[in-house]
Symmetry: none
C-alpha cells in the first residue's frame, strides 16, 4: 500500500508497523478486529511475509497486538491502554 521503498528511508517493516497503528487510530481496525492471515495481508501490502511478520512481532512486543490462542490469528486489543 504505497510504502516508501526509496533508499535512505525507514525500513519497510517500520513503515508497516506505523501503517497498522494508523489503522487503529483511524478506527479502521477496532478492538477485537481479526487480521487477515499473514500470507494474505503480505500479499495485499505487496511485501514478503517475513517483512510483515517483523512488523507484527514489534507490535506484539509492544502489546498493541494480541495473539489469540493457537488459532492462528491476531486480534487487536485495547490499544489505548497499552500505548504510552
Amino acid at each position: 500500500m504505497d510504502f516508501d521503498r526509496l533508499k535512505g528511508g525507514n525500513p519497510l517493516y517500520q513503515q508497516i508497523a506505523k501503517w497498522m497503528i494508523d489503522h487503529i487510530h483511524s478506527g479502521n481496525w477496532k478492538e477485537g478486529y481479526k487480521l487477515p492471515a499473514e500470507e494474505e495481508l503480505a500479499e495485499q501490502l505487496e511485501v514478503s511475509r517475513g517483512t510483515l511478520r517483523k512488523a507484527m512481532v514489534r507490535l506484539l512486543k509492544q502489546g498493541l497486538l494480541e495473539q489469540v490462542q493457537r488459532k492462528g490469528d491476531f486480534h487487536f486489543k485495547s490499544f489505548y491502554h497499552n500505548h504510552n
Copy 2:
C-alpha cells in the same frame, strides 16, 4: 524421489509439479486416478506436506488436477484438454 535440491536449481514445488505432469504423460496416472493422501505422498517424495500442496495448488489452478466431491481427494482430469 530424486529431486534436485542443489542451490540455484528450480524450487522443489516446481519440480514436483513437473514430476506429477510427467506421471500423467507417461501413463502412470491415468484420468480418474486417485492420489494418495497428501501426508502419504509427501512422505514418499520426502518433502513437506506444505511443499507438496504448493505444487498441487498450481496444477489445480492450471486445471490439470480436479478436486472431486468429498473434499477429500484429488483426481486427475482429462489432461490433454487443458494443456496448452
